[in-house]
Symmetry: C2
Subunit: 762 residues, 2 copies
């Protein structure tokens, strides 16, 4: 919507609020706002979620988790995903509100996206983010908000940038933690994405974080809310507290003594809406003179403006009121979900096989060029494609050839579980396709030997006894098969938000008798309050990996997790590793399509895969020194921006086009079509430049085998700047641009064999 329309909504809100009593206003400032019948204001619940699909409100298309969406490195595709989510949100809102249901998770104010920086791989909620890079996060966050909010005469839905700001664990301390951050890191790392969402995407809401930053609880931060958000960035929407965060002021931060003081502190600092119930005390705070009626009215205008902008107040309606229920969970959106899943997965390893002569003899790359599509064929007679996906003939272990494979072992706690498909903050998928399901669908004639292998993190598989495990079964399955697909990782029961991860403890009483359940509960899940203690897989999975590698069968590891893990053992022993993240309801089908070469992987890591937390600063340290690819000085296992394909795309030439563009000549010299992501990094000649080159542009392109094309890459408008120690962004026009498939460091080149093109900038 345009500025006039936005202002008009605000005017209407002001007129409405002018008619309201302070008591009526107080009930408008809670997420579960009450109806004011005399003014025609219906009941409305502001709390809704849409991190990667409409969440917690029943059936909805379940897109891959946010970290996976980031791995697509594709703002346009993310925009389309957000647009689809928004359509479903409207369809569901229309269906529910037309039937009188205005309960929680049924509204149009979605508390997404989470644009915090994934500063440390231990953070349990990191998978809700777009990764560790400020520019990638900003670019993707803007696309998401634009997709959600639409460009109509009303907001399609209202998005919310969270958690503002400097918030990334530990989960177990979030209610009392004070993040200490220097000005350079604040402005260089923690704020740019919020700034972009507010100033470029005009996000309608901002959520304050639980923690304090620089001594002020974020939901009452004069610096964050007053000086920066409302002042410098001229934010025009409403601010909402994280849920029960205002109660943390007196309960945990101890900056106030009573709920009344907490409510006043938040309101006065510019927090308009309370997720929680502390704003119950606003009326008495008003009576006590802790707040002014003006402050109350100001907040009410802001929250009601959002409802006018959505066209759900005042009776004028919205162009989106006509979206029918059928638009939810549609076949079109399922196709988009599948596309997103396919493009989000990152191929971390694909072992080169010793060269073998092509069976037909004399066929060269040139003759293979004619096959432009990545589609495997079950027909042995199809010369152009069928031979591409034989392990060994394509030169690497993957993709598997289903027409040659007789049997396959599918092993692991995440192979047939629905939980890792969902990530966290999920809706109900109308269909779950696990990796096991997907493999059966894509390769129906291959005999599958399935074993759970082990519990995700418990030492025993069966609840009743606390003893036995599935190792012998897993080994038998491997022994009976030509290839093992091992599906390991985490899920939200051990990686996620505080209070929701699986720390069940102790003993269990069965019929008052002496059943000993200790072994069952004796878990080694490496987690605490949703955060990881280290980068290890849980112990039973490490034992399983060791046992399967020991069989000598070729192993493909499919990793389902939301963060980086120590994959050194797998990297050394497995033929291939595919990082599938938490890939959405039908994500197992995408895994199978990639394993069997129906498409080429093309996702890139939005986070660094470190070797170990030993290489990292303390988790509580918010300084960026030696964190993320920009500042990390050691060796890593897989770098930010890294990801293999079944093609072989290389940047051959690159040059600057005007001030804001790079033009790159790329070609696919491989034998399979693929998408790939051309990435541009900049290393400024400045004492304030981070030690390593910084991402400042990326573009995805699709190339048939043998195809060459020129790709235009738009650069970050702040590309040629640095942030000094005072937090000021200053020009840094001279330095080096690196244009390639991945980061320009030695490690990337070692993994991919590809060096970036360097462009000197003066």
């Amino acid at each position: 919507m345009n500025a006039t329309q936005k202002q008009s909504a605000k005017d209407k809100a002001e007129a409405l609020v002018a008619q309201m009593t302070p008591e009526e206003i107080c009930f408008q400032l809670r997420y579960d706002s009450k109806a004011v019948e005399r003014l025609g204001i219906p009941e409305y619940n502001y709390w809704n979620e849409a991190l990667h699909g409409v969440a917690r409100a029943g059936t909805a298309t379940s897109f891959p988790q946010a970290i996976a969406l980031a791995a697509m490195f594709d703002a346009e595709l993310l925009f389309n995903v957000a647009d689809a989510i928004s359509t479903e949100g409207r369809a569901k809102y229309n269906a529910a509100s037309n039937r009188g249901d205005r309960d929680i998770y049924k509204g149009l104010t979605f508390w997404s996206p989470n644009i915090n920086i994934f500063r440390d791989p231990r953070w349990g909620r990191g998978h809700e983010t777009y990764g560790e890079d400020p520019y990638l996060t900003a670019k993707l966050g803007v696309a998401f908000v634009n997709g959600m909010q639409g460009d109509g005469d009303t907001l399609k839905t209202a998005a919310c940038a969270k958690h503002y700001a400097v918030h990334s664990g530990p989960e177990s301390l979030r209610h009392e933690f004070n993040a200490v951050v220097n000005k350079k890191d604040l402005w260089e790392t923690y704020l740019p994405a919020f700034e972009a969402l507010v100033t470029e995407a005009e996000v309608e809401a901002v959520m304050g974080a639980y923690n304090a930053t620089l001594g002020e609880p974020c939901c009452a931060s004069n610096l964050l809310l007053g000086e920066i958000l409302r002042g410098k960035w001229e934010f025009d929407g409403h601010v909402v507290s994280d849920c029960w965060a205002i109660a943390d002021f007196h309960n945990h931060h101890k900056v106030t003594n009573t709920p009344r003081e907490s409510a006043a502190l938040a309101l006065n600092a510019g927090c308009d809406l309370n997720c929680g119930n502390t704003y119950l005390h606003l009326l008495t705070a008003l009576q006590d003179g802790l707040i002014t009626e003006d402050a109350l009215r100001r907040a009410a205008v802001r929250v009601l403006t959002t409802r006018f902008r959505l066209g759900i107040l005042g009776g004028e309606g919205s162009e989106y009121d006509a979206i029918p229920y059928e638009a939810n969970d549609s076949a079109e959106n399922h196709a988009l979900e599948q596309k997103a899943a396919l493009e989000s997965m990152v191929l971390l390893k694909n072992e080169k096989l010793p060269p073998t002569p092509l069976k037909e003899g004399g066929k060269t790359q040139a003759t293979l060029k004619e096959g432009g599509k990545t589609q495997s064929s079950r027909s042995e007679g199809d010369k152009t494609q069928a031979t591409l996906f034989v392990g060994g003939q394509g030169g690497s272990f993957l993709p598997l050839n289903k027409s040659k494979l007789k049997n396959i072992a599918v092993i692991g706690p995440n192979a047939d579980s629905r939980v890792p498909l969902k990530g966290n903050y999920y809706g109900t998928s109308s269909e779950y396709i696990t990796v096991l399901d997907g493999i059966r669908r894509v390769a129906p004639d291959v005999r599958v030997h399935y074993s759970e292998g082990c519990h995700l993190y418990r030492s025993a598989s069966e609840f009743l006894t606390g003893r036995d495990n599935r190792l012998a079964e897993a080994i038998a399955a491997a022994d009976a098969s030509e290839v093992v697909v091992l599906v390991l990782g985490l899920d939200e029961t051990i990686e996620g938000e505080e209070g929701f991860s699986g720390d069940d403890s102790g003993s269990f009483d069965v019929g008052g008798n002496e059943f000993d359940q200790r072994a069952y509960f004796e878990s080694d899940n490496n987690t605490q309050g949703g955060d990881k203690k280290d980068l290890n897989l849980p112990k039973p999975q490490r034992e399983l990996l060791d046992a399967i590698l020991k069989t000598g069968k070729p192993v493909v590891l499919v990793l389902m997790a939301g963060s980086s893990l120590d994959l050194r053992v797998a990297d050394a022993g497995c033929k291939a590793i595919l990082n599938a993240w938490y890939p959405g309801g039908r994500g197992g089908l995408a895994v199978a399509k990639l394993l069997f070469g129906e498409a080429s992987p093309c996702g890139k890591l939005p986070v660094t895969f470190y070797n170990s937390t030993d290489d990292l600063p303390d988790f509580l340290d918010y300084a960026m020194a030696n964190r993320t690819y920009r500042y990390f000085k050691g060796e890593v296992l897989y770098p930010f921006g890294y990801g293999l394909t079944y093609g072989d795309v290389t940047v051959q030439r690159a040059e600057r086009r005007g001030s804001g563009y790079i033009s790159a000549a790329v070609s696919n010299i491989g034998i399979a079509a693929t998408k790939d992501v051309v990435q541009v990094y900049y290393k400024a000649d400045s004492p304030f430049a981070p030690p390593n080159p910084v991402l400042c542009g990326f573009a995805k392109t699709e190339l048939a085998p043998g195809e060459a094309r020129t790709v235009e890459i738009a650069l970050n408008k702040n590309a040629f700047t640095v942030v000094n120690d005072e937090g000021d962004r200053v020009a840094a026009p001279s330095g080096t641009l690196f244009v390639g498939i991945g980061q320009p460091d030695a490690r990337t080149a070692k993994l991919t064999g590809k060096k970036a093109i360097e462009i000197e900038v003066k």
Copy 2:
């Protein structure tokens, strides 16, 4: 195996035990028996389960739950199922033991079947049984044991008849309860199945129940173990205690004061093997003179005899050692699983539609006869079959016609849950096909609107808030669809064994804040300790049913539960009701095939569906008066033996053939092929005859439309007997035989329109 082979195994066991010290023997009498290396006895764990597939040991074919297997009314098919389970048990045993894994659930002694009589519909474990009729239970139990144990030179696996005897709840009292039973009920109702399994099937093991019967804990019952089992029936195998049941002697039954006394009491009564650890105290009991060394040796001989009979002791091996891992979870067994699921489901209602002229005009039943197979066709041009499955053209609402249906709502907490597929005591299916999955597979071009509708028993759907529900969504889904498939019922979290059903309680602390979770936990699951308090569906499901019926859309109810429920509201309001039980891993596919007419339902109820528990005696009362179809005097909703088909099979004539057979002329005058079950009931002219006719024979037959055939039905050898008040079985040669499709009572005839053929017997 033959008597000589069995005796030879016993001789070997005797020779082996003769070499053992008392201490060594004591460790052989626990389920987790230790190795005796000097005698070449490996470690062995006796505890394994195979109620409806190898359970708790990882991947195995997951057949329908026992109550569903009973509803097949097909001893031969059940034999095949048990044979397949036994093959998988051997395949898994071979794989595990060859890899040194001899842990729990990895052995060949399976503690199945459960042949207790499902005396009262409230019993939570009733779904583990073959229903309420002693003859049906005996016949099916014998078939199951024969399938499990095989007819080789060694036992294929060892089965176990449990829980001996007079055991059927309440679960919450099982450790201290004393079942009081009169002699007539004992011998007429509670013992016949055990007698058949011991004397006809030569079941290798018998498990004593937790409760006491007539004042003696079952695992130390001189009456049950001594006088009847070993005395009258000459049982030749071993007796095992239910798990930790011997500890109940001092902990709960209070018939002993110490574990030592309990161990002695059990051993002296003839309980050979202890599931639990009370037999740790046998050695001190021996020292104290509470038991004799002879008693110890006798028990050891019995348990080791079983291992010799299995060919897993003494090095001679078994013919089944060659069963490869590939025999587990095989395509062949999946096909059998699907067949069992299809034949187990019971069509309880199928509303007749007003007659409409056939579209082609002039087509009559006679011309339709040519189509002999029940297979729907997507081709509109297929005149013989495509028209059969149009709701209305076949004369009834079901089957649905997928070529005419544009959209369908699939609603309910059991529609896409894996839990109700599994029942209890389950293995890991290598594939789960929910009802929602199945419908999508069978009718891929029909748009599906899915809603969970409500939680299985909680009042809110989302854990985090405790408020919202899915009613509006469910109604929107129904409104958007032509037909609603509503999938309700129970699962093992609220219907099952004591201590394992979902009684989570209270409040939940989220981050130390004021989240109120009461509404979420405010459940109305109508259950207590696994038993049902009444026959109601949980409250949220009743509300969902009401709301969906109110939309006016035609509703097909699919019920997934292990016991009878009060379906009066559904019976009045739904167009059709299919009782799918807990149908096994791929059971949802079978549901969909039946709904869309790819096969005809043919299952029959092995339990009475009462209107309400108001009509029943107290749950604690073990007298049979006014219980089960044989003794119940009131009106019921759906009687024992009842179940509709898409055909129309009628018994036209019947006559006795010799003493033990009935010959019945049956024909299918319907327009769809179907299987159906001809049932024979006998009402003796005797004061000791139960008030209603008693099942004494059944035979399943398959008939194409218009086909007629003669069916031979073997009668129970005890058919023409009754049990007097002293518990003696006496001849009752005069009376009336009823031969029909279902029971001969008025209610059945009202439901099916079919009266049984009466044969006077003198």
